[in-house]
């Protein structure tokens, strides 16, 4: 797997690069700002571009814009956006109408190496990786006549993991249940929330998020 990394903090960038390299991932490009990242991504066409949001020169949302640029210009390149904090607003901007090959994670998640590498691989394979924080903000949001109240606690867990972009297999592993049980939960959730189920994981993400945002 080939990856490009953009992060203006050298310390963190090297940490991420080392982590990836040790996991056998090929880091083909490193950048300290979004301009440089775009240039290198266009040249190397990696499987995944990992980018920070706040970068020079203005330290606002350069990385976000670069991510969107990459997604529209090179749809085959997965994009994993890292941020010091996560906001639903950014998640929605990134997702737009396509959750394929997209990740949006807190920088902290890098420390949980296995989960992080799993997210990178998912994005590289055209799946999604949405930070649990964003998901819990969406699910935790209080609503009048909340339809989520009809879900069992276990179903809520499953809903959250689906929204993060996990596959049924991954969810089963996480919750230590059989994949068959997860499938039953998913069916129940979709019928309770009156959603039409769709096959692929990243489409499922979009459907669930759209529902939660409504």
């Amino acid at each position: 797997m080939r990856v490009a990394v953009a992060e203006d903090s050298v310390l963190l960038r090297e940490g991420i690069v080392r982590l990836l390299t040790e996991a056998g991932i090929d880091v083909v490009a490193q950048s300290g700002d979004a301009e440089d990242l775009l240039r290198k991504v266009r040249a190397h066409k990696p499987d995944v571009a990992i980018t920070d949001i706040r970068m020079p020169p203005s330290h606002t949302d350069e990385g976000l814009k670069a991510a969107q640029q990459i997604r529209s210009e090179l749809p085959q390149v997965g994009v994993l956006v890292l941020s010091q904090y996560v906001e639903q607003a950014y998640a929605m901007e990134l997702l737009a109408d396509n959750a394929a090959g997209l990740g949006y994670l807190l920088k902290d998640r890098v420390a949980d190496v296995d989960a992080f590498l799993d997210a990178v691989r998912r994005v590289a394979d055209g799946g999604s990786a949405l930070d649990p924080e964003v998901v819990s903000q969406l699910i935790g949001r209080r609503r009048r006549d909340d339809p989520l109240e009809e879900l069992t606690p276990r179903e809520r867990d499953v809903l959250g993991l689906m929204a993060e972009g996990r596959s049924n297999g991954a969810i089963a592993e996480e919750l230590v249940v059989t994949e068959r049980a997860v499938e039953k939960h998913v069916t129940s959730i979709f019928s309770k929330l009156d959603l039409s189920s769709s096959g692929q994981d990243h489409r499922r993400v979009l459907a669930v998020l759209a529902y939660l945002r409504a």
Binding site: D61, Y85, E87, Q88, A89, L138, G140
Partner: protein, 585 residues
Amino acid sequence: MRRLGREPVGLALLGLLYGLAVGGLILGSNHVDGRLAYAGLGLLVGWSFIGTGVFASWRRPANRFGGLLTAVGFAWITSGLYAANPPVIFMFGLLFGNVWIVLLAQALLAYPSGELETQREHRIMAAAWTSGLLLQIPVVLFLGTPDDHFCKDCPSNPLLLVDNQATTQVFLVLQGVVGVAALVGLTVVLVQRWRAAAPARRKELGNVLWLGLAAAVLFSLQLSLQTLQLDGAVANLVFLLAMVCVVAVPYGFLAGILRTRFSRAEAVNELVERLGATPAGEGGLRDALATALEDPDLSLAYWLPGQSRYVDAAGRPVELPQRGSDRAVCPVEREGRPIGAIIHDAALSEHTDLIRAAGAAAALALENERLDAEVRARVEDLRESRARIVQAADEERRRLERDLHDGAQQRLVALALTLRVARSKMDGDPEQAAALLDEAAAELGLATEELRELARGIHPAVLTDRGLGPALDALAGRAPLPVELKQLPGDRLPAPVESAAYFVVSEALTNVSKYAQASYAQVSVERVNGRVTVEVRDDGVGGADPARGSGLRGLADRVSALDGRLEVDSEQGRGTTVRAVVPCE
């Protein structure tokens, strides 16, 4: 000026006719000497009192002083009936001959208010009526006329019970003693009244008080001499002097009114000239008004229409004196709008027209000073809110320091320790070292999370990057109750406005979740006609007091720093609405 009504004219006419009738009786008298002088002087005194009394009543109908003066005039003329030849009329004059002096005493005691006010004054009047009228009855009952000693040409007394000189004498002495006591009491009251009068009042009241005082002293002297049956010639001279004072009372009263009227009118004229010539400087207007109205303690209050309150020249709030206190208020208007008030001695309330004239003359200058005061009040408010903002910022910094110190910093110290221990275990017990490292990583995760929350509390980055909508959306998402974003501006607003709006919503939602017991809240931010209105409405218990929490106070300061205002509607049981309106062109 008030028009002369029917009543005063009728009263004056009645006095005139009554006087003429009694004058005729005096001229035809067969038992008094110097009839022409008696009649002429008598009528002059009577008519003076009646005329002055009628004038005073017409000028101040509510004040009974004028009525008392008129009564003195009629009673005085009545005393002239003593000269009448028909026995019944003669007896009438004899019986009521002293009533005028009792009424004069009452008028003096009641001056200037027209009312007897103290218990002591009522007691003095009781003594006066006893001496002047009550004790006169037995005197008349035992006084046989004609009588060689008393009046040898007088008509016979139709009320005579028994002709007994000794009894008459006893009652005359009793009459004298009680009368002197009443007169001494009157003297004391008049002296005290003079001393208590404000300088501005002395000029007006002085004449009557001094003349009344002199008359009271002289009458008491004369009555003492007469009662003790001492030198008759001296007693007559003293009586004459006393009468001079009495005659002068109505004229002194008129002179007092005219004098103050003229001097005040002149002072107001001067005020107009002075204010026209030079703009009044600091306190200049107040001093000018104090001089013109002769009230050194006079003060001014300026009306702030925006805040519906009075302030002084320095911009500090002013409490207007209550009704019934010794200070009174005269509002000043300009072009129909209130601009301020003159706070003056309540004694000046009798001259409201003068104060109004002075106020009208000073209105322009007062308006200027009012604008000054308004600016000062604003500066004063700003100074206070700036102090609060500085204090709030200090408190915020202290809170941050505490949060950092108790939170992330402690965790990092613990982390360093954990790592050291893990390092030492690396060779001997690699398994425990690994566990410790996991623990350290978890600890580090918590520290980062805390720092992230702290940073968000200081200033949410999404507000700067994406504006109010996404920032409020995130805020609503984290709130522990359903929050509906009803309306949000489509475009970005100026950063300070966005920031103020965000913190208004944030603080309001915090309050809602802490106190309101609400099930639902609504947030809207609207930009209309150059103003941004931020509104947070809940369906909770209401009854929030905006003065109570420092949070709302701080919000009000933040909003007013942008020239906006913060309103809180929180009727008990009707939910709470916090509304901030900020100008935004």
